[in-house]
């Protein structure tokens, strides 16, 4: 059975054997150098070998190495000493000496023994040499001395010889065998050889003669060796020197013999000399090694820096304080096309685009004068072949040791791509904006272009209908008018969709009387429904506040669309609009469900129906008419209001479309209801100026005005209009009303109006604008110019009549109304004219207010919690009741209402609810 012996045991065996052999040889050398009666060597080299061996090998081998070496020493010592005990013990002491040093060094430095390091060298000197030899000498002296009288003398011989042995040999061996030493081996071996040879020669020269005491001349030689060739060379030279000195001295030759005749003294002197040599050379070698190490690190880091700078693609630069380049990395050449050699020393501004030089100067100034540490800027530079590119730079100021400005350092990066991308983006955005502007202009123009002839068609149709016609003629004219109506509706729808899509439609936020709206819308569709035999009903959840935040106009549009559809697609049964309040979490919603008992919509068409131009059936348009835009617009409007429009339907049973919008209560808004019922416009008798550039329109509107009993003068544009007004005043027949078309050549309606009013603000005639466009900003422009009202084309006869009545009618200053409409949003004008013609009397309205207020207060109280908002609302309602009750013969009620209002303001919080409830109870009784 052959067990394979692992390599480490082989290694250990080899190490131990080699060491022992070397120790033996060294011992022989040492003995050979012995002199003196004690037969002690001047210099004992054996232990150094053991020490180095232990330092080089792993600890597990130490036992074997020490063991073999002990045997070797034992054998050796046996040739000198005759007592086995003595030889055994002496050998052991030597082993101990080496072990002490090895153990300490191993503990402190591990296996990393670099003799050129200061700390390692110090530890070798202190522990492996001094302390170790001290211990061993103290142990050995008694063994060597035959009797105690000579112990000190023996010690004095033993200690230096062992000390020197370690000090001379150990560094040399360590320097030769450790890795770090490899660095020094790179120095030409010939140089080392030369130096050592030189040292040897010098030593021979010095010690080979006995005439002159020139042994100290050795020192410069050795020191020189240390400077030139580092630790290995130094220790080798010192070793050679020592050996030579010993050799000669032992033979009685050399300057040491001049010192004394006594052997012991000579030996001592020699040892001191050698020690001195060691102490003067080795530290120098260590220091120099340290410096070389630092230099190497520096060189390495310098290399690394160079590598990095060469690799990055940004330019790294430095300039001196005049702005001349002092450093540029390789990237400079790629970025600018100039070579670095050509550029260094030249001023920075040669490469910068002339227009951008100031930017750089400013930036550097900022760095110098303010606290800013970093300046960044973008400038153009000119490459070697002439192309201009953009760069982005970051720059810092440099200061010298006195803190004075010494130049700048920074980086720069080619930024051209980003800059180009940025410019493209800007260009693209401008192009997009321009496209939008063009689209808006197109919208506005198209609106005008279409409405103008529409005006003609509708106007004349209405005039015709007002004249004597046969039945057949009347019917035909009605058809013309209704065709024109349909066309107008389509136009409005298309414009709405366009506006919504290009984001030009705004949803207003104002107070809306929701009950009123429902009433109005259902009223509008009722005639059509009744003609088909359908019932129209609506209901309103009492929890819904009277006034809600929303866009009244658009809500009306949606409701009319839904109701219109319901009526259109129902043959029999009913159409209902039910408004309810719904709480979802912390939000309140208003749901208006328009339901009918009509033909219904198939399940798969229900979603598509909300898309443009889709109808439920492909022939629906033919059967029922319509453009299919209404629902699409309604849904968009609903979404823009923050709500939804949904449908449920069953074929043959009916359809329900529900509009859901967020519900927020609003402050009541008092839009002017005309306090007089609007009479049929007749015989107003006003003197009117009509400024209109298109002859069709002049004819139509002029005819309408004459029908109203007005006398009409015409103007063709703004200038004409101003002139006409002036003339009229001079002639003593001022106009009662000026109708001003806004789109006129030369001078437009807004400017003309402004001019007319400016002439005589107090007695200028009221100016009413006629226009096809009703964009919000046009309304604002009119208001700003002092225009009192706006009439949209196409002009309807009734609308015109009301308008004339209002602004130029009897009661010289419909001035009262003038003032009252100044504040009104002009957009409401349109819907006002559609409102119910008959207004309730004041008393009725007061009764309504009383009823609604009581209802509302009751609802608020019933819901339980009375927070700030609720109390505020109740107080406001009570206030209104209190203020007006007295005028309508309801003084007592008014007093109670006043009490309630006061109670809310004055009572403490805990009593408040109770007091309010009790007061309200009395109030509702008295109502």
């Amino acid at each position: 059975m052959h067990a394979k012996i692992p390599p480490k045991y082989w290694e250990m065996a080899i190490a131990a054997t080699a060491t022992a052999t070397a120790v033996c040889l060294a011992g022989i050398v040492g003995i050979f150098l012995a002199q003196g009666p004690q037969n002690l060597t001047i210099l004992w080299p054996a232990n150094a070998i053991l020490l180095v061996a232990l330092l080089l090998r792993p600890r597990r081998e130490w036992a074997a190495i020490c063991g073999m070496s002990w045997i070797a020493l034992f054998v050796l010592a046996g040739t000198v000493f005759h007592s086995s005990v003595t030889t055994g013990a002496l050998s052991a002491v030597n082993i101990v000496e080496a072990l002490v040093g090895a153990w300490v060094l191993r503990r402190k430095h591990g296996r990393n023994i670099d003799i050129t390091r200061r700390r390692v060298f110090a530890d070798v000197f202190l522990w492996a040499a001094l302390v170790a030899c001290l211990i061993s000498s103290v142990l050995a002296a008694p063994l060597l001395a035959p009797d105690s009288a000579d112990i000190f003398a023996f010690w004095l011989s033993y200690f230096p010889s062992h000390l020197l042995g370690v000090m001379i040999l150990a560094p040399l061996l360590l320097a030769l065998t450790t890795d770090r030493a490899a660095v020094f081996r790179r120095r030409s071996r010939s140089e080392i050889g030369l130096v050592i040879g030189g040292a040897a020669l010098a030593s021979i020269a010095i010690f080979g003669q006995s005439a002159y005491p020139v042994m100290f001349l050795a020192f410069p030689v050795l020191t020189f060796a240390a400077f030139r060739v580092g630790m290995a060379g130094a220790s080798a030279s010192t070793f050679v020197f020592s050996m030579v000195a010993i050799w000669f001295t032992v033979r009685g030759i050399g300057p040491v013999t001049l010192i004394s005749d006594v052997d012991a003294t000579r030996i001592l002197f020699l040892q001191i000399l050698i020690a001195g040599a060691t102490l003067s050379t080795f530290p120098i070698a260590v220091a120099i090694a340290g410096r070389q190490r630092v230099a190497m690190q520096l060189a390495e880091s310098e290399q690394q820096k160079r590598r990095i700078l060469a690799q990055i693609d940004e330019v790294v630069f430095e300039t001196d304080l005049q702005g001349r380049w002092t450093y540029l990395n390789p990237a400079w050449e790629d970025i600018t096309g100039y070579s670095r050699e050509d550029t260094i020393g030249r001023p920075w501004d040669e490469i910068v685009h002339p227009e951008d030089k100031e930017i750089v100067v400013d930036a550097v100034n900022r760095l110098i004068t303010s606290d800013e540490e970093l300046a960044e800027y973008n400038i153009r530079y000119v490459r070697s072949e002439g192309t201009i590119r953009w760069n982005a730079s970051m720059v810092r100021a440099l200061y010298d040791e006195q803190g004075r400005f010494a130049g700048v350092a920074g980086t720069m990066r080619d930024d051209t791509e980003r800059k180009l991308a940025e410019e493209q983006l800007v260009a693209a955005r401008e192009a997009a904006e321009q496209a939008t502007r063009a689209k808006t202009t197109f919208l506005a123009n198209m609106s005008h272009e279409i409405r103008t002839p529409m005006n003609g068609i509708l106007g004349f149709s209405e005039l015709l209908l007002g004249s004597e016609l046969t039945g057949e003629q009347r019917r035909q004219v009605q058809l013309i008018a209704s065709s024109a109506d349909a066309l107008l509706a389509l136009l409005n729808d298309i414009l709405d969709i366009s506006k919504i899509e290009s984001g030009r439609l705004d949803i207003a936020r104002e107070g809306v009387d929701i009950a009123q709206r429902l009433r109005d819308c259902t009223a509008l569709v009722t005639p059509m429904a009744e003609a088909k035999g359908l019932q129209v009903e609506y209901s309103l959840d009492p929890e819904i506040p009277c006034w809600i935040m929303g866009d009244g106009l658009r809500l009306r549009q949606i409701l009319l669309n839904l109701l219109g559809n319901a009526v259109k697609f129902t043959e029999s049964g009913h159409v209902r609009a039910d408004a309810t309040r719904r709480e979802a979490g912390r939000e309140s919603w208003l749901d208006i469900a328009v339901s009918d008992t009509g033909i219904g919509v198939a399940a798969d068409r229900q979603d598509k129906i909300f898309e443009e131009f889709q109808q439920a059936e492909y022939d629906t348009a033919r059967r029922f008419g319509g453009t299919g835009l209404g629902l699409a617009i309604s849904r968009r409007l609903a979404t823009m209001m923050g709500g939804t429009l949904t449908m449920t339907s069953e074929i043959g049973k009916g359809t329900t479309v529900t509009l859901s919008i967020p519900l927020t209560a609003a402050d009541p808004v008092y839009w002017q209801e005309p306090s007089r019922p609007m009479p049929k416009a007749e015989n107003v008798g006003a003197h009117v100026l009509l400024a209109e550039d298109l002859d069709i329109n002049r004819e139509v509107i002029g005819a309408m005005l004459r029908k109203l009993g007005c006398s009409v003068d015409f103007a063709h544009d703004g200038h004409d209009a101003i002139g006409a007004v002036e003339r009229s005043e001079i002639l003593g027949r001022p106009y009662d009303l000026v109708l001003m078309d806004l789109q006129m050549p030369r001078l437009g309606g807004v400017d003309a109006a402004r001019a007319i009013i400016a002439r005589d603000p107090e007695s200028a005639p009221p100016v009413v604008a006629l226009t096809a466009n009703i964009f919000a900003r046009d309304a604002q422009a009119c208001r700003d110019a002092g225009i009192k009202d706006i009439l949209t084309k196409p002009i309807r006869f009734d609308a015109l009549g009301e308008l004339v009545q209002k602004w130029a009618g009897a009661g010289v200053d419909a001035g009262g109304d003038a003032a009252s409409t100044v504040a009104q949003p002009v957009a409401d004008m349109a819907e006002q004219r559609d409102a119910a013609a008959v207004a309730p009397s004041l008393e009725e309205r007061y009764a309504m207010r009383k009823r609604d207020s009581i209802e509302r207060i009751g609802a608020l109280i019933r819901q339980g919690k009375l927070g700030e908002a609720e109390l505020g609302e109740i107080a406001a309602l009570a206030h209104k009741l209190a203020g007006s009750a007295g005028m309508f013969g309801d003084a007592d009620f008014g007093t109670l209402a006043g009490d309630l209002e006061e109670a809310i303001e004055a009572t403490a919080a805990d009593e408040r609810l109770e007091r309010v409830e009790s007061l309200f109870a009395r109030l509702s009784e008295a109502a």
Binding site: E673, D813, A818, A819, V822, G883, M887
Partner: protein, 129 residues
């Protein structure tokens, strides 16, 4: 016919007053807030201005003060209507330079009488400031 600008935010009261005064032969223009009131007054230069003391935006006393500091307007007589209960309004009215004040709710006859007294006279000037 004498012209009156009347600023009142409660529309029922406004209408009622207008009816009352129209029957007495006045032409009444109604505005709902202080800012419109000032605009109307500047344009129309009425013979009398009636202001509700509490209105949204610019309340009555503020309108009054602006009128009194405008050379073109300061000699127009002003009647201030104050709410039922607050004494403070009365003081404000006097301080701001109202020619007369009435408490709501007011007796229509009394209202007409006061208006009559204010309109044809040369206005009684009050120190303003």
């Amino acid at each position: 016919m004498a012209r009156i600008v009347y600023a009142e935010d409660d529309e029922l009261i406004a209408e009622h007053v207008r009816e009352t005064l129209s029957e007495a032969g006045y032409v009444v223009g109604i505005v709902n807030d202080g800012i419109s009131a000032l605009q109307a007054i500047k344009i129309k230069h009425p013979d009398l201005v009636i202001l509700d003391a509490e209105m949204p935006g610019l309340p009555g006393p503020e309108v009054l003060r602006k009128m009194r500091t405008d050379p073109k307007l300061f000699d127009i007589p002003v009647l201030m209507l104050t709410a039922r209960r607050s004494k403070g309004d009365e003081d404000l009215a006097k301080y701001a330079g109202a020619n007369e004040y009435l408490r709501k709710p007011y007796d229509p006859d009394q209202l007409v009488a006061v208006v009559n007294s204010l309109v044809p006279d040369a206005p009684k000037r009050r120190a303003f400031g």
